[in-house]
């Protein structure tokens, strides 16, 4: 806006402080504080899909004080003070000074860049953050960087290798020092040293700087030559391998979700292998275990239970619940199963008392919410669909249910609602609306009927509702409802209680006065409003209760079962109440009847402590009774009765910030299942941190909502489910997928493979680099401790680039120890990762010992064979080069489990490439090694050496490998055999002789 006129402007030109006007369906260009909107009450509806992925409409308010002002007509000056730009999209604090009044601004007054204005003709606001300072832009960063456990361990080993490198260099320089000292007098004229330089006429020392410096130079030179010991290339190879693994994970059709048309997403590239070592899974419930598609299931009205389980055909009632508006038929978008009896009763409302109650009940469902109905066109011009948009899926489900029973919400503005009741359009004034907040756990709406009577409808969680319901009224109904509630929640349904109250005129006036006062209060408005709400929400008459089913996702029970068989502990952290959580626990097979349940549900620290200690004693008993020494907690549940720990959020508050943490962890680690209910988002993270702090085991958190973000970021591996609750979790996660059950292939197949592959690859890379350094080092011992390299400089450079780089990368991406089928069949195989079988200290040292042996063979066989012969540096260097490269590749070949054509190509290809490279290098006449390879390769000795080196070097490894595999087989080994021979039996049939087909080339 310039000079009192609105002008079109580009986004990039908008500056802070400018007044911006946005029309309907436009995207907001920057973060603005709302001044006024087309709605007289100052409401603006925005869609925040771009920000958090939630497709429903959210309400934002302009301040009453500014709403009345029209910037086009009158000028007014205001000053907005707000916090510095930050990335919190759910919070905003500031104040505005207009006409000398100071107004406080909150997150409901700001509309963020990227949102779209909906259902509102126009909105005017002041830009407060622009460009890169907008919250949307500030949130444009990836997940926090995590480092995989394998890599952390690897770094320790690299430090070890560095120490070793320094040791090698020190040995070299000390020996060089001794040699220089003992030949001190000979150096001047020694033909191969020649300290004296006569060329300048007078005698001077040529490139000799005193023996101290000479030693320093030797040390530095040897650092340069031996630095390959530190496998820098390993980091690059690991990145490449991870990219390859990510490619396969994304491409896995098993992890494609058809419902949301989404593939698996790899958002973090550096923790792939952690997926193979998970010991704890922390799962959210809503949207993760369950679909978060709420379905209205049962209603208890006036003490009578109407379950829609015996529901009729859906098509049958479809026509009935449509409404005619201006000759057009409106239909709700979602179909709901209905109870015919209830439907019948609801149609006949007004006729009797029962009907009246049902009328009120459904009116409450249709009215007592913050749903915004959107009319959507369909292909049929006469039929329009009503799409209920709201923040809570529960409310949507209830609104759809009400519509199905003939109470269709058609229009909502801030002042009134229009409800179509069995074809009759009725208009109600919304006199007041107390939004849901987590303290009250309920919401209420005050409706003014056309006949001027005023009614209050309240809907909320059972615990909070039952306390405000007048118990003297209808005690029987209350009791009946309570039993219904109990039975619903034990079925795993989410329950809500509906209450109402006729407000008398005086009561209404009293409320109205308080409400007006509160809603215009400057300070603590929220608290005041809450107080007003709690005052009026009192002594209610109970109408009934609803039960909504939160459907379990496909395959959840099976997945949880396999996860537990694999020795993974599944912890469910949910915001739901205990009963719901437990019932979901049962339906998802998390809890079974054979389990001992320990429930901790206390209100103060002392009782918490008592409970915990009792539980600990209890949990130790079965262990003591079994009298089996047990080091592996994961197996403990196999012995005693498995224990399930159920703990609620209030108890966690006391536990998490006190010394009780330790006890909780001890208790929890004895339990096979832990269910935490009523937990806040930060507590979820707290629980993850509790486990992460106390064990070295890997944790994985999986969730779908914004409330899981902190947990996802805290855990070693965070998995986001791209579900109903927006993309917050996905944005924060390391991996994202469509369904909970994909966790099984993700962990058991990809996690297992990734871990095995990368673990092997790291060890192999250490070996690969150490062996060439050792060969170089041995040679230094025979060159008067000067760091001469027999292996051509080019070859030693190309060694880790061309000669040996590709096989390890390809094998790291493609080799697989077991087939998918077997891995899924025996989830226990996942334990290999948890026990760190593919990479550990022992393997490291064994490999290093093997490296030592192999380097000795590689170096000393040619040394002795050519001792005192005419061999020149380049020829023996070429022999060493070729034998190291072929040996290293054969070593890898020996450990490859599945040879597909890519692996064949790359292994044999890199050997051929090496030979070609060596030939090319030796074909350059200005290199001192000119034609050396061709001359030596013409002798029999060369080939004898080569063959001898390869066999002698690999012999011990081969024998040890066989002994281990045959006499001390790992689970993986047995399964591999089972897989191979089971297949062959099927294919080979009666041709038993061909059980061991001999391939063309034995794997030597």
């Amino acid at each position: 806006m310039v000079d009192g006129q609105f002008q079109g402007k580009k986004w990039k030109d908008v500056k802070v402080g400018e007044i911006v006007k946005i029309a309907a369906n436009e995207t907001i260009p920057c973060d603005i504080v709302l001044l006024s909107t087309s709605d007289p009450t100052g409401v603006a509806y925005v869609q925040t899909t771009n920000l958090d992925g939630e497709s429903n409409l959210k309400t934002r308010y302009a301040k009453q004080e500014t709403q009345a002002k029209v910037p086009e007509k009158e000028r007014f000056i205001g000053l907005i003070k707000c916090e510095k730009p930050n990335r919190n999209i759910y919070g905003f604090q500031g104040n505005m000074e207009v006409d000398g009044k100071r107004l406080s601004l909150g997150s409901s007054n700001i509309v963020l860049r990227g949102c779209e204005l909906k259902n509102t003709n126009w909105a005017v606001g002041v830009a407060v953050y622009c460009g890169h300072e907008t919250k949307a832009m500030l949130n444009n960063s990836g997940a926090p960087s995590k480092r995989s456990q394998l890599e952390t361990h690897m770094n320790l080993e690299i430090i070890m290798l560095s120490v070793f490198l320094v040791a090698l260099c020190s040995v070299t320089s000390v020996c060089a020092a001794i040699w220089l000292k003992s030949h001190k007098n000979e150096l001047d004229l020694m033909p191969y040293y020649r300290k004296l330089d006569f060329s300048e006429g007078e005698m001077e020392s040529y490139q000799y700087y005193g023996w101290g410096l000479e030693i320093l130079f030797t040390f530095l030179k040897s650092v340069i030559v031996f630095q390959v010991m530190i496998p820098i290339s390993l980091y690059i190879s690991m990145e490449l391998v991870r990219v390859g693994q990510a490619y396969f994970m994304i491409r896995d059709s098993r992890m494609y979700d058809a419902a949301t048309n989404s593939r698996f997403q790899c958002r973090a590239l550096n923790i792939n292998e952690d997926l193979g070592q998970i010991k704890y899974v922390f799962s959210d419930k809503t949207g993760t275990l369950t679909e978060n598609k709420m379905e209205f299931q049962c209603a208890s009205i006036w003490g009578v239970d109407y379950s829609s389980t015996e529901a009729s055909l859906e098509h049958g009632h479809q026509a009935e619940c449509s409404a005619q508006v201006d000759g057009k038929v409106l239909k709700p978008k979602m179909k709901v199963k209905v109870n015919q009896k209830l439907l019948q009763l609801s149609k006949n409302s007004f006729r009797n008392v029962e009907g009246k109650q049902i009328y009120d009940f459904f009116l409450a469902l249709a009215a007592c919410n913050t749903i915004v109905p959107l009319v959507v066109d369909t292909s049929d011009p006469t039929v329009k669909l009503i799409d209920y948009q709201g923040e809570s899926p529960d409310e949507q489900a209830l609104a759809y249910a009400a519509a199905a029973y003939g109470f269709m919400l058609i229009e909502r503005t801030s002042g009134h609602i229009v409800i179509d009741i069995h074809g009759k359009r009725q208009r109600f004034n919304v006199l007041g609306l107390h939004e849901f907040d987590s303290d009250r756990k309920r919401m209420s709406v005050i409706l003014g009927y056309t006949d001027n009577s005023v009614k209050l409808f309240v809907k909320g969680a059972d615990t909070s509702m039952l306390s405000v319901i007048d118990k003297s009224l209808n005690a029987e109904i209350l009791r009946a409802t309570e039993t219904h509630l109990h039975s619903y929640s034990s079925l795993g349904l989410r329950t809500l209680v509906i209450g109402m109250w006729d407000l008398s005129v005086s009561e209404f006036d009293q409320w109205h006065f308080a409400f007006e006062a509160a809603s215009t209060a400057l300070l603590g408005r929220a608290a005041l409003l809450r107080k007003v709400a709690s005052n009026v929400e009192n002594n209610l008459c109970i109408l009934g209760a609803t039960a909504i089913e939160d459907k379990l996702q496909k395959g959840v029970p099976e997945s949880i079962e396999s996860l537990r068989t694999a020795g993974i502990k599944v912890w469910v952290l949910t915001g739901d109440k205990q009963e719901t959580a437990i019932s979901i626990g049962y339906s998802s097979k998390l809890l079974t009847n054979s389990m001992t349940q320990i429930i901790i549900n206390s209100n103060n620290r002392e009782s918490c402590r008592r409970h915990l200690q009792n539980a600990l004693v209890k949990s130790r008993q079965p262990l003591a009774a079994s009298a089996v020494p047990n080091n592996f907690e994961g197996f403990s549940d196999a012995i005693g009765t498995p224990i399930a720990l159920i703990i609620d959020g209030t108890s966690l508050v006391y536990i998490l910030d006190s010394e009780l943490e330790e006890e909780l962890f001890e208790l929890a680690s004895r339990c096979s299942v832990v269910l935490c209910c009523r937990v806040a988002p930060l507590q979820k993270a707290g629980i993850v941190a509790l486990v992460k702090k106390r064990t070295a085991d890997m944790t994985l958190a999986i969730g779908d909502g914004a409330n899981d973000v902190s947990m996802i970021q805290m855990a070693d591996v965070g998995v986001g489910i791209s579900g109903q609750e927006g993309r917050q979790a996905v944005m924060a996660s390391d991996f994202a997928m469509g369904q909970f059950r994909f966790l099984v292939p993700l962990l058991f197949i990809h996690g297992h493979w990734n871990y095995q592959r990368l673990g092997y690859m790291i060890i192999y890379n250490f070996y690969r680099n150490a062996i060439i350094v050792l060969v170089l080092f041995w040679y230094v011992l025979f060159t008067a401790y000067t760091v001469t390299t027999a292996i051509n400089e080019w070859s030693s450079m190309l060694y880790s680039i061309i000669y040996t780089a590709f096989p390890t990368i390809v094998v790291g991406i493609l080799d697989k120890d077991l087939s998918k089928r077997i891995l899924l069949k025996y989830p226990q195989l996942y334990g290999a990762g948890q026990r760190r079988e593919a990479y550990n200290k022992k393997l490291f040292w064994v490999t290093m010992a093997d490296t030592f042996w192999q380097s000795i063979v590689v170096f000393f066989v040619p040394l002795f064979a050519y001792w005192g012969s005419t061999v020149d540096i380049s020829s023996i260097g070429d022999l060493w080069t070729l034998s190291v490269v072929i040996l290293v590749n054969l070593h890898l070949a020996m450990d490859i489990i599945r040879w597909n054509w890519v692996i064949h190509a790359v292994i044999w290809g890199s050997i051929v490439a090496t030979v070609i490279c060596v030939m090319i290098i030796d074909a350059i006449p200005t290199f001192s090694g000119y034609w050396a390879i061709f001359n030596t390769a013409a002798t029999g000795l060369f080939w004898l050496c080569l063959l001898g080196i390869l066999i002698a070097a690999l012999l011990p490894r081969f024998a040890v490998k066989y002994i281990y595999q045959y006499y001390y087989p790992s689970d993986i080994q047995i399964s591999r055999e089972a897989e191979k021979f089971a297949n062959q039996r099927v294919i080979g049939g009666n041709r038993q002789i061909e059980m061991y087909p001999i391939p063309d080339g034995p794997p030597r």
């Binding site: 000979e186 004229l189 033909p191 020649r194 004296l196 060329s199 040529y206 490139q207 030179k221 896995d252 059709s253 058809a258 048309n261 089996v628 047990n630 080091n631 994961g634 197996f635 403990s636 196999a638 292939p745 008067a784 000067t786 760091v787 089928r821 025996y826 226990q828 002795f864 050519y866 001792w867 005192g868 012969s869 005419t870 061999v871 020149d872 540096i873 260097g877 597909n900 890519v902 006449p925 200005t926 290199f927 000119y930 034609w931 001359n935 000795l941 001898g948 012999l955 081969f958 490998k961 066989y962 006499y967 689970d971 047995i974 055999e977 089972a978 061991y996 391939p999 034995p1002 030597r1004």
Partner: protein, 352 residues
């Protein structure tokens, strides 16, 4: 969750129908990591076969190599101390540095068994580090190859330039290696007749034709104050200076031989040959040793028993391992792929 190929192919077919918008990954054996693969498993049969095969190959080859090495007839004569006159015994360096002393040294050697032509004549140096870092770098391969690169001596210091008439002239061939060219000479007489030592074609053909230029002539060589070794005939191009070419192939190890020449007549057993050595080369400075070696050759090269023995040892080890494994297999076989051996089946209590 079974990998039934029919369902996946059905899914693929279904996907084709609504391909347009679906993000469903295309099915291929590659992306699903189901490429056909050969999966070797170390079964006892395999392992025993492999070890036996190794034994079967290595023992005969080893024996052949050993006998070949044994067939080589070698006469080695270390002359560095014997060719110093008694008066100079305590001061060998002074003797070798003095231009006026008589360096000729005659010695009789007896041939133990028949040596068939060609007999290779080597000089052998010990404790001479031709692989010393300072030494191997002190050469200019460019200069050796082309005439135009005569001034390319930057790597050759301290033997790079020589000052002649106050002018700095490049040395061709430059560097310590060329400077220290071996300069002892040998003459051999058998039954009072001169045995011809053929000194042509003693260097690699590749070096003669390509590496050392035929238009590069020695220049200013051994002209500086300190003479390191042999002088070169300035009228012969480097490609024909075979002693230099051989010498410039720096040895890999501190004890090495270099080909001096070839004798193309047989030497009979019990022949007494007389070698006349011009003992010029200074190994006394640093305690090196020099020897004259006459040797025949077989397919394995010179005399070296190491490889033969190593092969036999490896072969026997393999044989032993094969037998050991066979015995173990008979005594304690394990059925392959038996699920009862899985850890969770073996001890359900989780005892490990």
């Amino acid at each position: 969750m079974s990998t039934d190929p029919s369902t996946s192919s059905a899914a693929a077919a279904e996907e084709k129908s609504n391909k347009r918008k679906s993000k469903k990954p295309k099915y291929s054996r590659f992306t699903q990591q189901e490429l056909p693969a050969w999966q070797p498993i170390l079964t006892p049969r395999w392992v025993i076969t492999i070890f036996t095969l190794i034994a079967l190959v290595f023992i005969p080859v080893g024996l052949a190599a050993f006998s070949a090495s044994q067939r080589v007839v070698e006469v080695e004569y270390e002359y560095d101390t014997e060719c110093i006159p008694d008066s100079y015994k305590d001061n060998a360096t002074a003797y070798i540095k003095d231009d006026n002393t008589n360096k000729t040294c005659t010695q009789k050697l007896s041939i133990k068994s028949k040596m068939q032509a060609p007999i290779f004549v080597y000089y052998q140096l010990d404790n001479f580090y031709q692989n010393h870092r300072r030494y191997v770098k002190s050469r200019s391969d460019e200069q050796l190859r082309t005439k135009d690169k005569e001034n390319d001596v930057s790597s050759c210091s301290p033997e790079d330039y020589v000052t002649i008439n106050n002018k700095s002239e490049p040395i061709v061939p430059c560097g310590l290696i060329a400077w220290s060219l071996f300069n002892d000479t040998y003459k051999i007489q058998n039954k009072d007749k001169e045995v011809v030592i053929n000194k042509t074609n003693i260097a690699w053909a590749s070096d003669r034709t390509t590496k050392f230029g035929s238009d590069v002539y020695p220049k200013n060589f051994q002209a500086s104050g300190l003479i390191g070794g042999a002088k070169l005939d300035p009228t012969k191009p480097l490609s024909e200076q075979e002693d230099l070419i051989v010498w410039m192939r720096t040895a890999a190890l501190p004890k090495f031989r270099k080909l001096y020449g070839k004798i193309e007549t047989d030497l009979e057993a019990n022949d007494e040959i007389v070698v006349v050595i011009e003992n010029n080369y200074n190994t006394y400075e640093f305690g090196g040793k020099k020897s004259l070696v006459l040797s025949t050759a077989t397919w394995i090269g010179g005399r070296n028993n190491f490889l033969g023995i190593a092969y036999v040892v490896i072969g026997s080890m393999s044989l032993l391992l094969a037998l050991g494994f066979l015995l173990l297999y008979i005594l304690k076989p394990r059925p392959l792929g038996d699920p009862t051996y899985l850890s969770w089946n073996k001890n359900p209590g989780g005892l490990r």
